[in-house]
Symmetry: C2
Subunit: 340 residues, 2 copies
């Protein structure tokens, strides 16, 4: 039986050990996660995503400092779905360490891709379980890129922060639109640079398009339901959340407190609206399904043995059988071994 008390009592070494077990896919991790899971559900999970060059890392560092000043403990998970080859995560980690080192209320973990993308998403989910159990008030999950995969990882969070910056090019519009749809809070960082106002205008317009409610407000077609604030107080009520659009200059610390306040307001909204429950349910059901897929595949391979599996593969290679039909036959065979 895994002894959870060191982690629950704030022992960082014990926490780091479990995180390493999770990252390396070691069997011990499963027992640890099972024992830690009942102690989760308290942390506020904040996903941070946006294109390379938007200054996400600096902003996350400043946010962490602001949250510390406001009395919260903070964990940062930096997820790099690009290759382990780059060493990007490790470099970012060191820069951070210099900034935030020595504060026992901050914990930083970088995760690079070891194997499949699906594997990374699952180990990130497990790392978040351990950090939540360890009692961190805020868990910032930062992704390196802004592809669909990164968006999916950021979506694990309760509050999704999308970071943009001026001058990243018009070609990324397509990606931006995908990002906007998942944004709970939107920020234009590097707002002291040329083009910041233009970026804000473009995003404001896209935001109005991406959020049907905001669009209906704008068109005057929606009469406010009793609990909903007027559009001028967007993001403050408990009825409808319209993602606020903020501006920051992270390297100078400008706008960071206001950003933190917006994130807090979103958290409060999630609680009062009941939306927190919905997001938790969706998130946990997704995790259950992922585990089921993996366990079922492993179980099929064990039960059928490599013979049947390899025979099916050879038939596929010979183009005698398509992969979908082969899969159905293997599932059949496992369920009715007598027919085999």
């Amino acid at each position: 039986m895994f002894d959870t008390s060191p982690i629950l009592n704030g022992n960082r070494r014990a926490l780091a050990r479990v995180l390493t077990q999770i990252e390396n896919g070691m069997p011990e991790a499963e027992a640890a996660l099972g024992a830690l899971f009942p102690h989760t559900g308290r942390a506020h999970l904040i996903g941070v995503t946006g294109p390379p060059g938007s200054g996400k890392s600096s902003l996350v560092n400043e946010l962490a400092k602001a949250m510390r000043s406001a009395g919260s403990t903070v964990a940062i998970v930096a997820v790099d779905p690009s290759s382990p080859f780059t060493g990007g995560a490790i470099l970012g980690d060191r820069i951070r360490m210099r900034d935030l080192a020595g504060d026992p209320g901050v914990f930083i973990r970088s995760m690079a891709n070891r194997g499949s993308l699906g594997g990374l998403a699952r180990s990130t989910a497990d790392v978040v379980i351990a950090l939540d159990a360890a009692g961190f008030d805020k868990i910032l999950i930062e992704t390196v890129g802004a592809g669909q995969a990164e968006v999916d990882i950021a979506r694990m969070a309760h509050t999704v922060l999308v970071v943009e910056a001026p001058g990243l090019g018009d070609d990324v519009q397509a990606i931006k639109a995908g990002l906007l749809e998942v944004a709970d809070v939107l920020v234009v960082n590097k707002s002291d640079q040329p083009g910041a106002e233009a970026a804000v205008r473009v995003l404001r317009a896209s935001l109005d398009l991406a959020h049907p409610v905001a669009r209906q407000w704008a068109a005057g077609a929606l009469r406010p339901p009793p609990l909903t604030p007027p559009p001028s107080k967007a993001g403050e009520g408990s009825g409808v959340w319209i993602p606020p659009l903020l501006q920051t200059v992270a390297v100078q610390g400008r706008g960071v407190t206001e950003l933190m306040d917006s994130i807090e307001k979103h958290h409060a909204y999630l609680h009062t609206s009941g939306e927190l429950d919905n997001r938790e349910r969706e998130r946990l059901e997704h995790e259950l399904e992922q585990h089921l897929r993996e366990f079922l595949l492993a179980s099929l391979l064990t039960r059928l043995g490599s013979g049947s599996y390899n025979a099916a593969l050879e038939q596929i290679f010979a183009r005698q059988l398509d992969p979908a039909r082969a899969a159905r036959q293997l599932v059949e065979q496992m369920q009715h071994p007598a027919h085999a």
Copy 2:
């Protein structure tokens, strides 16, 4: 029983119908794919990926024209993993239509994301099966972005072409490194623009790093095995493939023939080295596994009924049971219903 003859005989309407069934996840698609699969394995699958702004679409159009001139039939699959909201794929499609329309030897299909990323990857694989059976010599699979997900989709191909361009920013280095590892042929497009030579130098250095064999050649540490050409003839032998680095200006058609020749050389290399077989096996096994995961999950839900599944979910929501253990219990329960 699905009648394959219209598709095998080049009927475009029949082909388009099946592609729509695949994209919409219609049950008819499965029978069609099963019947078409034995007729696959002839096409050369070429994945094209690279960051937004690198001019991938123009380059793919020019490549398609060059391949047509060389006597091959060509299908283009444009995959946009960003939201359907953007309409990006449809726009690209129209621009293409103007350029390549009226040529019966070219077929173009755009695919946007409808649902999950995994779903898109699988339907792309299925679309490729149908196009391969329909007899296209070359199938160009172009992704819109260059995140890990896009790289995974491009990897489905036999030959992976990575497109870069000058001036896309230094911040994308991390992404570049991940891309380089999967590149069989590397091209700097927009090579008439400032910074092209610098981009080539950076990529050349990264390429040397990313490819251990190239690195060892460079260091003089590797004695050429009998069948391997000296580094000066990189990419031409049958022993080791060192990704060539080319320059193009797609909008002027410059460098496109040379690029097509490099792609052809890679295809020849795949055949003579036996690597084509390895890539096919890896690709088809991956497809089998994906189908198994989905069918097994569906089968579990059917067999257990929603009662057990929902009960497990409620225990997870109440933090009484972690998702991994819940998954194990459900699998157990399905396999030994008596214990339930």
